[in-house]
Symmetry: C2
Subunit: 352 residues, 2 copies
């Protein structure tokens, strides 16, 4: 297929739009987020609760690590049914409650935010839809500025959700060093998009892949979850995400010769775990597809996918997901599926 024809797919165009979407967020949401950070510093926030589903919930996994590590506040990922099904009344007067929904119409997310606002929490909706129920329900709103997302598989909205979490966390903590790095996000995303040709070349090798494992850890556990979801929903591959710590203690037993394991392995605190994993997988003759900027791990992988720059570990989830989105898109085409229209999935999920 000529490269031009990829542009007829929403998913492809939307991945390419990530650098601009992120730049728009910095420009259009920066002042508002600085204002929110002032409010959070004035309030005595003891706890953060995040309500989200699907891709937004994977973004929330990063937020958990981020707010605990950078802001030192414990984070609870809400089980919405506690509110929607069982009608629990939860003490939230010193909580910050974040509802995250691309469409802003996820009924259960909106319900959690509604309850939280009544309970006296600071509430912030993070959504790509200004006119949505979530935007109307939350006291404050951060808009993702991603432009309309037509593909069922979320890509640019995931990256802008991460961006919203980074901006809020760093401003709240007054981390000008990290904010400086973050302002270069569009440039980093541009550079990671240059990996596309290399990805397109290796994808046919996975034409008949039926199952795989995707491993990450720490900040990039979120990347493993979201990468596994993309592969599952666009390519119908039984992909299982694991924290590398959990995977090494047990599930690695399932790995036979040739079994494909994706490894999201940026340099950083979790890196020794990934070296251990890849070394073990090599002796088992497994197939390792490794995303990293570190030569030592790329050298011992079956298929190295080299990220062409180094980045603070905390920021890597923002750019390490994009190669996996591109992989999912191209693999879907190679397998003969339409990545824009996954079987049995709808864009807006309504759960009560």
């Amino acid at each position: 297929m000529p490269a031009m024809d990829y542009l007829s797919y929403h998913m492809y165009r939307e991945i390419l739009e990530e650098p601009q979407a992120v730049a728009r967020m910095v420009e259009m949401e920066g002042d508002k987020i600085r204002g929110l950070a002032r409010i959070l510093r004035e309030r005595d926030i003891d706890c953060i609760v995040i309500a989200a589903r699907g891709t937004s919930d994977n973004a929330a996994q990063l937020a958990k690590y981020l707010f605990e590590y950078i802001n030192g506040v414990p984070v609870s990922l809400a089980a919405p049914s506690i509110y929607t099904l069982y009608g629990a009344r939860v003490k939230l007067d010193k909580a910050l409650v974040l509802g995250v929904s691309q469409s802003g119409e996820g009924l259960d997310v909106v319900e959690v935010v509604k309850h939280a606002r009544e309970a006296g929490a600071v509430t912030i909706g993070i959504t790509n839809n200004e006119g949505s129920a979530l935007a109307r329900t939350a006291e404050h709103t951060i808009f993702c500025r991603a432009g309309e997302e037509k593909s069922v598989a979320a890509t640019k909205t995931y990256v802008t959700q991460l961006m919203a979490f980074y901006m809020l966390s760093f401003e709240w903590a007054g981390r000008s060093d990290l904010l400086g790095e973050l302002s270069r996000a569009p440039e980093y995303l541009d550079r990671v998009l240059t990996m596309e040709e290399g990805i397109r070349e290796i994808v046919p090798r996975y034409r008949y892949m039926k199952e795989c494992v995707v491993t990450g850890r720490g900040f990039n556990y979120s990347t493993a979850l979201e990468a596994a979801l993309k592969v599952k929903e666009t390519c119908y591959v039984g992909s299982q995400p694991y924290s590398v710590a959990d995977f090494l203690h047990g599930p690695i037993a399932i790995v036979e010769e040739g079994f494909p394991v994706f490894v999201i392995a940026p340099p950083g605190k979790a890196f020794p775990n990934f070296m251990e994993l890849c070394t073990k997988l090599r002796t088992r003759k497994a197939e390792t597809i490794v995303l990293s900027s570190a030569p030592e791990i790329l050298d011992i992988s079956t298929v190295p996918l080299r990220i062409p720059f180094e980045l603070e570990e905390v920021l890597t989830p923002l750019v390490y997901i994009t190669p996996m989105q591109l992989f999912s898109f191209h693999l879907a085409l190679v397998k003969g599926f339409n990545p824009d229209r996954p079987r049995g999935l709808k864009k807006v999920t309504v759960t009560r």
Copy 2:
């Protein structure tokens, strides 16, 4: 195999010991837990953080629902690497922090509790091992009184961990109604063990089952997680747990004729979701194995496993897991595996 021979397996004997283990907890830990409940009422607890791994983490999933629903306090399930790998300092002065570990030697769980104690949290260790690092590190300890657990697959310790959460939650909330019901737990567990013969009869049907799905929701999302883990670790079946809400929106697309779906469906708030699921699965000619006391859902299942009594929904996780433990045990034997010695697993998991 004659029934007597099952008794040569630790896992089998330990499942049979569940009623006595739970009775011992009420008798030996009751006073201590009432004392802890007084301490919690005096302190102004804004947030609960629970650190656990594997089976203990599945028990912690119930605790999340329980403390939010019964006690109205938001619960965060800790990602231990935030403390162990990244060394985050988290604000926990108004938090209750629970470390849960059968052996009490899970290094990362101990590390979270240590940090929490230094940060001024009320800390409680829940463990089956009185002399363990967790018991020494936490300010308070609840002992599971399960007796030694020799099988690698945890059974009686899981049930006693649930019991610890119930006792603490109900005492803290002063819910004498639920405490009364809970005191009958040994009797309910005795009655659920009578299902064994029926389970043994249907197990050969799954001799060649390679994958399955286990669904639950709300309080019994924990049961689905733990049941899927038992089947995976003793029978090497690719079992995936799902909240029924998540499963209905997408993954149900993978279900073909004959695909086995276990449904943990006690009467209660989540019951309509299960009826919807089973109705849909029936039109797809899937294989449904349904645990319930409600005739209307048993009637539309492929293989009904009837729980022989009704129970408050909040208490059902305590007894709905046992039939699935028995199922895993007998299926392992039918498949020719030793359920006491899963491949590639150790009893004590040490993660840093």
